[in-house]
């Protein structure tokens, strides 16, 4: 049993190494990728700095907490929203997926491995970049006071990672039916997802009724809720409730992704060649 686990670990380890190597093949691409995410961070930061101006509090957020939120977004973007599985849709269309389908490796484990590598790499560079910015711009960084906060945060983060993975997989699987995957991907992936996830601003600056509706979607559990937990603005009960809802969405999207995959794969054309 142990040997078997070891052997299958080796395959994921090698896959991770290859994924990592791919990033370093094109240096310019790599630099631009980092530049883009850094510029995004700075834009959001300066936007909020401009809005606050001389004020110390706005929309129920102290200036320091809002800045901490913005810094937090940069980290969660890289850890939760960073992903390689978005490539899946393109591979279904082009028939490139064939090469993976022929290998005795699970489709979920293949893409999850690549996703995790992407996230870790992203996170590593985010630490460097944001660290420098935080140091030079003297942005106050918030560390939670209560121990259980770390536990809740870690728990929700893992759930959010998987939830995003299965949402992304679910969206990609539409490529089995429609060629126009980028429209849906863009609409859901950018507009809905990032907006409602709280990747631009905290959801609770919105009117209450809208907030209530957004809280019913899976999105705020990806960025907004983990950050609220980190900033210790939620009671333990609300945090646990959020974790449970996230878990529920995870189960739903896990099922949906599976279902759509199984149905969709029957439509796969293995085009090209």
């Amino acid at each position: 049993m142990n040997l078997w686990v070891f052997a299958s670990m080796k395959k994921y380890f090698q896959l991770s190494k290859l994924t990592l190597q791919e990033y370093f093949v094109y240096r310019l691409n790599f630099v631009l990728w980092r530049f883009r995410s850094f510029v995004f961070f700075l834009t959001l930061l300066f936007f909020w700095l401009a809005i606050y101006g001389d004020r110390t509090a706005l929309l129920g957020y102290e200036r320091a907490k809002m800045l901490a939120y913005v810094v937090g977004v940069a980290f969660l973007r890289s850890f939760v929203l960073g992903s390689r599985s978005a490539d899946l849709a393109g591979q279904i269309r082009s028939g490139e997926l064939t090469k993976i389908l022929l290998c005795p490796i699970g489709m979920f484990s293949f893409w999850l491995t690549r996703d995790v590598v992407d996230k870790l790499l992203n996170l590593f560079f985010t630490f460097l970049e944001i660290g420098i910015a935080v140091y030079f711009l003297r942005i106050p960084f918030y560390f939670p006071q209560r121990t259980e906060t770390y536990l809740f945060f870690a728990l929700l983060l893992v759930l959010a990672l998987f939830l995003y993975f299965f949402v992304s997989f679910f969206l990609s699987a539409f490529a089995f039916w429609t060629e126009e995957i980028w429209a849906t991907r863009w609409l859901f992936g950018i507009i809905f997802l990032e907006f409602f996830a709280g990747a631009y601003f905290p959801i609770d600056v919105l009117p209450g009724w809208l907030q209530g509706m957004i809280n019913l979607t899976p999105f705020p559990y990806l960025v907004f809720f983990p950050l609220k937990i980190w900033l210790e603005q939620l009671s333990a009960a609300t945090a646990i409730k959020g974790i449970l809802i996230c878990g529920l969405w995870l189960i739903i999207f896990y099922r949906l992704a599976n279902l759509l995959w199984q149905k969709g794969a029957k439509n796969y054309g293995a085009f090209g060649g």
Binding site: K11, F13, L18, V25, T98, P104, Y268
Partner: protein
């Protein structure tokens, strides 16, 4: 017990048709016409262990689609497929570890990295023991002469170099069943020959079952005893290669070299003149009339040399595809 069993396999695709040009595009935006394409239409065959079968047919005949169904990539519209007692569609790891599909037109290596990286990944994915990996790799690399290209990014390789690396990647786990879809495409004659010899040897030594498709009749002639000819999704012939000649070539070819200039008009009394340019002539004669025709030639013409030959297999198959009914 056959290794591969296919019963009444059908695979239909739905495609939408678009007239050329912008107007056509606009039309297809509003009202889209779908059409069923019968890529594979009710075919059945069985292949025993260790057989090396040639799959031939014109472009779009359904060869590749069949191979994709056999390797579990495509979900059949109807019919039963069994390979090594597995249903390929289940994509069980135990099944995938025993097969390989090589597509000459398609890249299965990691495009941005050197081929060696794919080899190592395949070793781990297929759980190939280290010693077996080293041994197989060493042998294949030497045979296919790719020592120098293993560390070069795959995308920078020539088609031939890449094809060789594809073959290596597909064979590292010593598959029992091998599907080769035009494996010699883009290779020079010397390499074609090498790959052929290699496939033959691999089939002999490992007792592996191989299906090969190719546009080069040379590949099929040299490698396969049994061929399956497929056209428009249907099997039109399944049997020994030599049978095709016996069954469908009702003509033989007389190649003549004349000692003196002759009247080509007189030649057409003997048979159908395919080619005449002094001193050579090629005449096609019905099988049963060959001896009479040869005697006539020798009697009435200044013949320097005469050869009776079978119609080349390429020609027979071309005739088969160009509409001559085989069934």
């Amino acid at each position: 017990m056959p290794v591969i069993e296919v019963k009444s396999l059908k695979k239909f695709y739905q495609v939408h048709k678009k007239e050329p040009g912008l107007i056509g595009s606009l039309k297809s935006l509003v009202a889209r016409k779908y059409e069923d394409v019968k890529a594979v239409d009710n075919i059945s065959f069985e292949i025993e262990e260790g057989e090396l079968v040639g799959f031939i047919g014109p472009n779009g005949a359904g060869k590749t689609t069949t191979l994709k169904c056999l390797s579990g990539l495509l979900y059949p519209t109807a019919g039963v497929v069994s390979v090594l007692d597995f249903n390929p569609w289940d994509r069980k790891a135990a099944f995938l570890k025993q097969i390989s599909l090589v597509m000459g037109q398609k890249n299965q290596l990691w495009w941005d990295l050197p081929a060696m990286e794919t080899f190592i990944l395949n070793k781990e994915i297929y759980e190939v023991p280290e010693t077996q990996f080293e041994e197989t790799l060493g042998e294949l690399v030497k045979l296919l002469e790719v020592e120098d290209v293993l560390k070069i990014q795959v995308r920078k390789l020539s088609l031939g170099q890449r094809m060789k690396c594809e073959l290596i990647a597909a064979l590292l786990h010593s598959p029992k069943v091998l599907f080769l879809d035009e494996p010699t495409i883009g290779l020079d004659v010397v390499m074609q020959k090498k790959i052929r010899d290699f496939i033959k040897e691999y089939n002999r030594r490992k007792k592996s079952t191989i299906i090969l498709t190719s546009h080069y009749m040379g590949d099929v002639k040299e490698l396969c005893q049994r061929v399956i000819i497929i056209d428009k999704g249907k099997i039109v012939f399944d049997g020994q290669l030599s049978e095709i000649v016996e069954k469908y070539a009702d003509h033989k070819v007389l190649s003549v070299v004349f000692g003196k200039e002759i009247d080509p008009k007189k030649l057409s009394e003997i048979g159908e003149v395919k080619e005449y340019s002094f001193p050579k002539a090629v005449i096609s004669v019905r099988r049963e009339a060959v001896s009479v025709a040869a005697a006539e030639l020798l009697q009435h013409f200044p013949v320097a040399d005469l050869n009776v030959e079978e119609v080349p297999i390429e020609d027979i198959i071309r005739e088969v595809f160009s509409g001559k009914d085989l069934a």
